[in-house]
Structures are given as C-alpha cells and as structure tokens.
C-alpha cells in the first residue's frame, strides 16, 4: 500500500494514460529531458520517446495551436504550461479556436492544458495566478481544479478521455503538502521506470509512485473503481447543517480547517468542493443551499468577474427562496498577486478571514 502526494497523483494519471492510450502525447517547455520544473513528467521521455514527449520552443500559442490540430486528427494531446499564468499567451487559440470549434463545425477538439496554478508560494504576479475566470466565459471549454489527491488523479484521467478541450488547473501549493492513498489504479504505477531512469521523484529521492495502490481506498466509493472522477460533478467534502462554504482547489482546505474551528463554536459548516469549475454542478450547489440556507463562496481569485461571482449569481437567481442571508463571496482583492509574504498573506483568504465572514453570515 502506498500513499502518494497530489503531484505524484498527477504524474501517475498522466503516465497511465500514456501507457494505455497511444494517442496521448505531451507538448510543453522542458517536459522532456528535464522532466518539468516540478518533475511531473520526469522519466516520461525515456519511457515514451521524443515523438510523444515533445520539448517545444517558448511558444504557448503554438503549443496549444499544434495540440488543437493534432486533437482534430484524433490524437489526445496534453499541453503543459510551465506555470499556468502563461496560459494567457495562448488565449486566442483557446478561446477562439479550441472552445468554439465543436459548436461551429461539429469537430471535436479533445485536448488538455494543464499546469501549476495558485499562490501562497511567493511566486509573485506571474507565477501565482488562478486564471479560471478568464476562461469560464468561453463556451466549449471545461475547467477542472482538483483539491484532493484522488481528484488530482481521477480528474486528469477523465480530462484526457473527454472529447472536449479541458483546462486542468493543479494547485502548486498542494503539490507536496497533501498525501492520500490513490483509490485504484488501472495499471501499475510508473515507479519502476521512473526509478530505473535514475530521475529524482517529486520532493526527493523516493518520490516515485508505488505500484501498490489499493482498490477500494478512501474516495473510491465516490469515484468508481477505476479512480476516474467525472467532470461536472461536485463533491460534498464535509456534511454540515448551518452554513455552506462552496470552494475548490487549495481554498477547500482552508474551508475544512475553518469548519473544525467553527465546530467548537457550535457552527456546523457544510463544505462543497466544486472540482469542476466549468460546467458548474448547479444541482449540487442548489442542494447545499436548500439544506443550510446560508452560503459563502470561497475562491482564490480576484473578486471581480470571478467564478465565485457566477456561483453567487446562480444561487441568487435560482435559490433565493431558500436563503436566510445574502450570498457572500470571499476571494482575493482586485490587485495583482503580491510577492512579499506579509503582502501575500494579506491578499489570500485564510482561516481567520473565513471564520470571521462565516460568523457574520451566521448572525442573519
């Protein structure tokens, strides 16, 4: 039995899909020889060869464009943005080519664009972003943002198998901070190859994923035996009676920690993990609103035009009759992500600010 990190889960999902489907291939900067700055693709060049693990020039738009072309011909490209902030350099290809393509001429574009998102690692303005709101506006795209190890694994596999363009935003703060048993593995993990290649695994010498992942581990019941996590389905991360926090990504862990603290005060939080940001699981969102009648949306984005705003709007529109108070949003302020730790701490929502907002909302 082996416990893996969030990052190892991403690597294992990618590896397994590469093993089981010859249509899957990788495009990115430094993904081959170097194995990626976070080692997500370590060992893959040796295992799958340079035709399937392609180091590209610094050309995000061409990377995505080439992936679109290959996807139309039946391949399943996975594009790595070295940091997800750089996805903006491929904006046109994503929002004008990939997104509308199926609507325009019924031609599917099955591709995945993935990369490290999020702050709290002192990456400053260009290595900390959460760009989902730029893309939630674009028809035809799907966007996922896993908060757990099992979801990191299962959502990536589902994204690769989906016939649509999927943006997969992995939170770099979670890379090595959370560990879990993977629910199930359809194939042996890449441990043997990864180690044999002499490549350092994520987080140190023994970072490679073990082959002993167990079926039926925690989370498997919700995801099915193969560990796949369906796109578009939220997950109830914590059952509660008094107030709902809707979140995803690293902020989900802030919500869970706040829930423990608030439990001591007699406030019982329900926490809903969206998992898929687009399309939203409106049913799950409205179900939790119906249950607790108070809701706060917690996301790590600048407030204006955020995914949180869209969630809040849908609740206001379709769940108004069940509400006992205003829908709150707790997000980042409308500033770029600052660098200095004292500034970034002030910028990011945290357990204290969440607890304070929940208390305020609970008083209605």
């Amino acid at each position: 039995m082996s416990v893996v990190t969030y990052l190892e889960a991403i690597r294992q999902a990618l590896w397994e899909e590469m093993e089981s489907d010859p249509r899957v291939f990788l495009l990115g900067q430094d993904v081959g020889t170097y194995g990626g700055p976070f080692r997500v693709t370590a060992g893959m060049l040796d295992r799958f060869g340079p035709e399937r693990v392609i180091d590209t020039p610094i050309s995000e738009s061409a990377m995505v464009g080439a992936a679109i072309g290959a996807a139309m011909l039946g391949m399943r490209p996975v594009v790595e943005m070295q940091f997800i902030d750089f996805i903006s350099c491929a904006f046109n290809q994503i929002v004008n080519f990939a997104g509308p393509n199926h609507y325009r001429w019924a031609q599917q574009v099955p591709l995945v664009i993935r990369g490290p998102a999020g702050g709290n690692v002192h990456g400053s303005a260009f290595h900390s972003q959460n760009p989902e709101s730029y893309f939630q506006h674009t028809p035809g795209l799907k966007i996922v943002a896993p908060a757990t190890v099992a979801d990191a694994y299962g959502l990536l596999k589902a994204a690769i198998r989906d016939p649509n363009p999927v943006l997969y935003f992995e939170h770099k703060y979670l890379y090595r901070r959370i560990k879990e048993e993977l629910p199930a593995a359809a194939k042996p993990g890449p441990a043997a190859e990864g180690s044999a290649a002499g490549l350092p695994g994520p987080g140190g010498a023994e970072g490679a994923v073990g082959e002993g992942v167990m079926a039926g581990a925690a989370g498997a019941a919700a995801t099915g035996g193969d560990g796949l996590v369906p796109l578009g389905k939220a997950r109830l991360a914590r059952r509660g009676r008094d107030l709902s926090v809707i979140s995803y990504g690293a902020m989900l862990h802030v919500a869970l920690e706040a829930a423990e603290r608030l439990a001591a005060e007699g406030i019982d939080l329900e926490v809903l993990d969206l998992r898929t940001v687009k399309p939203l699981d409106e049913e799950a969102i409205l179900a939790t609103v119906r249950k607790t009648n108070r809701v706060l949306v917690l996301t790590e984005e600048q407030l204006s035009g955020s995914v949180a705003g869209e969630v809040a709007a849908r609740i206001a529109e379709r769940g108004f009759a069940w509400l006992d108070g205003p829908v709150h949003r707790l997000c980042c302020p409308d500033t770029p992500v600052p660098y200095s730790p004292t500034l970034e701490e002030a910028y990011l929502p945290n357990v204290d600010t969440l607890v304070a907002r929940v208390r305020e909302l609970a008083s209605y």
């Binding site: 590209t56 061409a62 464009g65 609507y103 001429w105």
Partner: protein, 356 residues
Amino acid sequence: MAKSNTGKGSARRAAAATPAAAVAEAAEAPPDRLAPTELSAAQQLELYRFMKLNRMLEERLGNLYRQGKVVGGLYSSRGQEATSVGSAYALAPQDFMGPLIRNLGSMLVRGVKPREVMMQYMAKGGSPTGGKDGNTHFGDLSRGLVAPISMLGALIPVMAGVALAGRMQGRDLVALTYIGDGGTSTGDFHEGLNLAAVLGVPLVVIAEHNGYAYSTPTSRQMRIKDIAARAAAYGIPGEIVDGNDVLAVHAVTKRAVERARAGGGPTLIESKTFRMKGHAEHDDAGYVPPELFERWRRRDPIERFERHLAAGGLATAEELARVAVAIDAELVAEMDYALASPMPPPERALAGVYAT
C-alpha cells in the same frame, strides 16, 4: 505617428519604398508566358475549370449579396484564383488544408460544392455548419479541410499540429495553409512556423502577398520587400512565385509538398499577387491607386491562362466558352438548391457547444 509623415518629402520617399510598389513592379513582367508544367492538357483544363468556377461563384455570391440574401459580409478572392487553385491542386487525397477567407478556389479543388458555400453565406439550415457559422468558415476532415478562425496566423500552429499528428500516425500526409501579407505580422505566424521548423513537420505555408490588408498597404506591415525572406529566420526554404500564374503556383507547391512528404520539413512560399476588390463587398477599395488595379488587371490570372491554353493549342475559345456555360448552368442549379434550404430552427442556437 501622423506628425512624422506630414512632410511632403518623407511621404514621397515612403511611397517609393513601399512593397506595394514592389508588387507593382513585379506586375511589369511579360504577362503571358506561364511557367513550364508537367500537367497534362486535361489537367490544365481542370485547373481552368476550377479557376473559372471560383470566379463565377463569387460573382453569383455578389449578386446574392446585392439582393440582400447574404446575411453577413462577402469576401472575394478575385485576382487570386491561381494561387488558391494551383496550390490546392498539388495536394494528394490524404493531405490536409487550412484555407483562409480568400481561398475559395482551394476549397473547390478539395471537393466543396458551390451550394455549400452559398448556404453558408445565406446562413441556411442546410449549410455545412447548420447556420452556426458563415462564409468559408467550415471544415470537413473527410475532405482534409480544417475550418479557419478569423484571427489571422492561428491556423499555422494548428496546421503544424495536423502535420505532427499525421507523422505520429504514419499517415504520410502533408498540411497546407495560407496567410496574407498582413497576417505575417502576427505572433502566431512566427510561433507556428518556428515550431513547425524545429519539429520538422510536413507543413507548407503559402503567403499571399496581395498588396493590402484591408486598407493597410504592405509597407505598413513590414520593411522587407519579399515575405519569403522570412523563411531564413526559421532555417527553412523560402520560395517566391508569380501568384497569377497557376502553373507556376502548382509547380512550386508540388515541389514543397514533395519535399515535406519526404521528411524535408516546412517551406514558406510567397505568392506575389493582388487583391482586385476591397477587403469585403462593402469596401470599394478607394484607397488603392486606380493605376495599380489597372496594371494587375492586365495580369488577370484567368485571362492569362486562357491565352496560354489558346496559344498552346490546348483549348479553343469555343471550348473555353463552353466551360463557362456549363459552370453557369451548374451555379444556377446550386443556387436554386441553396435558396430553397430553410433557415435553421431557433432551438439549434443552443445545441452542440460540447462534444459528447
């Protein structure tokens, strides 16, 4: 910027150095001698038919536009038919193409029917996109056609990806796409060609140097005279061809396609030609000096080809006239079909965002 151009002297100097003027210079070459060709008489007549169909279809579309039947803009490739037809004719059945708005002729060569284009422009329910998109913005992989988007340059990386996938799948295919002189100013032109060159994928890019990007002359897009010079920046061959000579365009494209198919990587071909109408039907192109139109009218690619066919004894004037009559009859039937197609049902507006 306007300030620096107020001096008469500098304005004159700028005009003399324009690539538009250089394009005009090229137009002074002897107009009737076409490039040697390996194509048979029958094949040359087929080329002629496609060019004539290209032009006559656009004239029909112009009529439909003036009758208010075209619901959006109408784009013409008048004067550029040889570039579209000659290049597309150099492809093999398994090859792929990403045409732009002025490559109707290329699409016709790949088997697109006039009724499909008419229904697209008229936004009919029976159009290839079911009314969801217009003009030549449709694709069909079974005919090797990838639909463009309006943002220029974007197709180059996409077609590089098509070429890459073809290589990975062992399909022996070559990808061909087009760009205009204005489109070469985009980032995707550079990123796409560079990536294609580095990966060595079988891609051919034809840059149609037609003098104007909407109202902007080439001199406002670049300081170089020949777009083909840009190939050196990517370490790939750059070729220049008389874009109004269908046989020359065919030959140079064939060479590039064969080179790509043999594993020799991408080629950039510059086709020197001229846009004989405005950007779109609404635009009278009043910004183009009339003498420039006149000079290029004498080099009309279809009339030149007619003279070539007659001089070589490949077709009589009567035979060529019969081709036009047959096309006209075909277009009338196609138009009747397109006009009879109903508009799409409103509920279709919500369908098909995601593939399932």
